[in-house]
């Protein structure tokens, strides 16, 4: 069985081994023992609540309880951009209109911004190829929403996730070639590597500051604004199911979209429920929601320092959940404890 749990100091080696599998395109999970152990130390301190909320970096690992293997990793950063500026382009609209000659032109505009400074960020998701089956990807990605729903006070109201931008098969980024290259005069990979290690003053030095009309860019650059890398499309869909939206912020280099949400509007905040582990009254079973039998539940304990979450087929009914004993054990729970529950997939919109 797979359990997603708070990372511990003991996971360092397994994490390193996994990072060697990641490959390029993910700048926050590099097989660098120093960087990794520094980050792990922050993560452990985050779950232990020994550092301030905005400095925290909650890392989760997915463990295969059958063999103790680490099958995946993901993280939530308490707040971004508070030590180094966090840049994005924001897409705005400008209207140029003259009543005198009856011209009305609506133009999209790119503004260099640090608007997302201080947001909570979902990041560093990686699932080992051996485990890319069934609901594993969903479990790993969505565990973070249940965590946020359980501990919303730890996060800012704004939640974001940066998505890798579109690249051609050759690795060419049409947006970078159409815009950034004119100002940075270097390869895309080089720029990417510099930002990964936190060297960002060159952005302030070289990036054009003035708002720019999208129409000035070559057509192929315009076309990929807000478009994700092919390999990232499934991850995007999962986040959108949970209430994240593309609101017009993109990466300054590859124009990959930033998805964002108000924490209070997340599906997990609206729909997740606490349930007490124990028997369900027979009389209430009739009123249970007509859940699709094949649609599993995300179920987590309510313990910050030892957060654990699984997928289960058990459905809570009016505040109670008859959770099997083996699942209780994996969650480090016992009867009478509360667990938080959320359907893995969104319910159909009830309103029509």
């Amino acid at each position: 069985m797979l359990v997603v749990r708070a990372i511990t100091a003991n996971d360092l080696d397994a994490l390193y081994v996994m990072a060697t599998q990641v490959g390029s395109g993910m700048t926050t999970l590099k097989p660098d023992m120093k960087m990794m152990s520094d980050r792990l130390a922050v993560a452990v301190a985050s779950f232990a609540e020994t550092i301030a909320p905005e400095k925290r970096d909650y890392m989760f690992v997915m463990e295969d309880t059958d063999n103790g293997r680490i099958a995946g990793v993901c993280a939530i950063k308490g707040a971004v951009g508070l030590t180094e500026p966090f840049y994005n382009y924001r897409i705005g609209t400008l209207v140029h209109s003259s009543r005198e000659i009856d011209v009305f032109t609506r133009m999209e505009t790119l503004y260099l911004s640090n608007d997302l400074t201080g947001s909570t960020e979902l990041c560093s998701l990686f699932l080992h190829p051996d485990y890319r089956t069934g609901n594993n990807g969903k479990l790993l990605s969505k565990c973070r929403f249940l965590f946020i729903a359980q501990f919303p006070h730890l996060f800012t109201e704004k939640l974001i996730a940066e998505m890798r931008g579109y690249q051609e098969e050759s690795g060419r980024s049409p947006f970078y070639e159409g815009l950034g290259r004119h100002f940075f005069k270097m390869e895309f990979d080089h720029v990417d590597a510099l930002t990964a290690v936190g060297k960002k003053s060159f952005i302030a030095e070289l990036m054009p500051r003035q708002p720019m009309y999208v129409d000035y860019l070559p057509q192929d650059a315009q076309d990929v604004i807000g478009k994700v890398h092919t390999s990232t499309a499934p991850a995007r869909r999962l986040l959108e199911q949970e209430g994240l939206y593309f609101e017009g912020y993109v990466d300054i280099f590859d124009a990959g979209p930033v998805l964002q949400a108000r924490v209070s509007e997340l599906r997990a905040m609206r729909e997740s429920m606490l349930a007490e582990i124990g028997p369900v009254m027979a009389g209430e079973i009739a009123c249970a929601p007509h859940a699709d039998a094949s649609d599993p539940m995300l179920i987590s304990n309510t313990n910050l320092s030892d957060f654990r979450m699984i997928l289960s087929q058990t459905v809570p009914v009016n505040g109670a959940i008859a959770l099997p004993e083996d699942e209780q054990k994996i969650l480090h729970c016992q009867p009478g404890d509360s667990v938080r529950t959320l359907t893995l997939n969104p319910r159909k919109n009830p309103h029509v």
Binding site: I101, K185, E205, P208, Y216
Partner: protein
């Protein structure tokens, strides 16, 4: 003798004849009789006006060929560009981009919509017939406007500019327009010029043109190449004006990207080199011996009776008088003892 003089009502027919000739790049000369009449009347009123502060005056000079009826050239000067509004142009800014960490250093050009030329005096509508191209008389016609400004500085700004038509293709399209103005105006170059009547001071410009700098590297190659390039018809004017001391490179036209030459009057040769001299009668003897002859533009120093010609005489720097032949005096309508201003040409 060729004479430059203010336009008169009797020139209207001749101006109509000129307007019938195709003059690509000279947008500011009116084409219809009605507009020609208005321009001539405005010029006559401007010369007659008593001016405290330069405003809506527009002075039109014409070039008369010797012994010919009609006129062979025109040149205008507006007292204050954008009067009753704002004269818009693109300023060609240079942004230094330096990253010491990365050892990168280069510069990026950016075009910024600006109103800095508002209130400058504007030279325009320069045209000479083909026969006079490249002659001293063409230079005289261009320069006469500035000589008038030397004579009547209160009628003009301390700064002058001259927009020259930019490059267009064989169908009248403009690559610069296609990359910029078209995106906002949603129409062809010639249609836009027609809609706006060649003006650069209309409200619709501020409504439609981009307010943020345009980074030049983002423009297509043909638009970049057209920036600051003159229409072939403007070469003569360009050469005369740069020789005069006008500088290109700082501003370009917002529509076709053509160069806008500009200068402070202190940088202009007409201003720095103009000498006021008293008229003396020239010896009629054709050969005055060893004294070398220099070519001068000479204008009557009479604000309300401006006339200018080209003539030759001895270098004037260390003289108090200028010797002018009787026919030159007649052409200028001056006599001995009157004052003229003279500039080497």
């Amino acid at each position: 003798m060729y004479v430059v003089r203010p336009v008169e009502l009797t020139d209207i027919a001749a101006l109509e004849a000129l307007a019938a000739v195709s003059m690509p790049g000279v947008h500011t000369l009116p084409k219809t009789r009605e507009k020609i009449v208005a321009m001539v009347e405005r010029s006559i009123a401007s010369f007659a006006a008593h001016v405290d502060i330069p405003s809506e005056e527009a002075y039109l000079l014409v070039l008369e060929a010797p012994g010919e009826p009609g006129i062979v050239g025109t040149a205008a000067i507006f007292a204050a560009a954008g009067s009753n509004g704002t004269y818009f142009s693109f300023r060609n800014d240079v942004i230094q981009q330096v990253s010491r960490d990365l050892n990168i250093s280069h510069s990026v050009h950016a075009l910024t919509l600006c109103s800095e030329l508002t209130g400058y005096s504007q030279l325009s509508s320069f045209y000479v017939g083909e026969r006079e191209h490249g002659t001293a008389e063409a230079a005289l016609l261009s320069r006469a406007r500035l000589m008038f400004a030397v004579l009547a500085p209160h009628r003009f700004s301390d700064r002058f500019f001259v927009p020259l038509a930019g490059v267009t293709d064989s169908t009248g399209g403009s690559p610069f327009w296609d990359a910029l103005g078209r995106k906002f105006f949603k129409m062809d170059f010639l249609d836009a010029e027609r809609v706006i009547g060649g003006a650069r001071n209309r409200t619709l410009i501020v409504e439609l043109m981009p307010h943020y700098p345009v980074y030049v590297p983002l423009l297509p190659g043909d638009a970049q190449a057209a920036m600051g390039q003159i229409h072939p018809s403007g070469e003569l004017a360009f050469n005369l004006l740069t020789a005069e001391g006008f500088e290109a490179d700082d501003y370009i036209d917002i529509f076709d990207g053509g160069p806008i030459l500009q200068a402070h009057k202190n940088s202009l040769r007409t201003f720095s080199g103009a000498l006021q001299r008293r008229v003396a009668l020239a010896d009629e003897a054709p050969d005055r011996g060893r004294e070398p002859q220099v070519r001068y533009a000479v204008a009557a120093a009479a604000e309300h009776q401006f006339r200018a010609v080209v003539t030759h005489c001895a270098a004037l720097e260390s003289q108090v008088n200028v010797s002018l032949s009787a026919d030159v005096q007649e052409a200028l309508r001056v006599t001995e003892g009157d004052t003229v201003i003279c500039v080497r040409i």
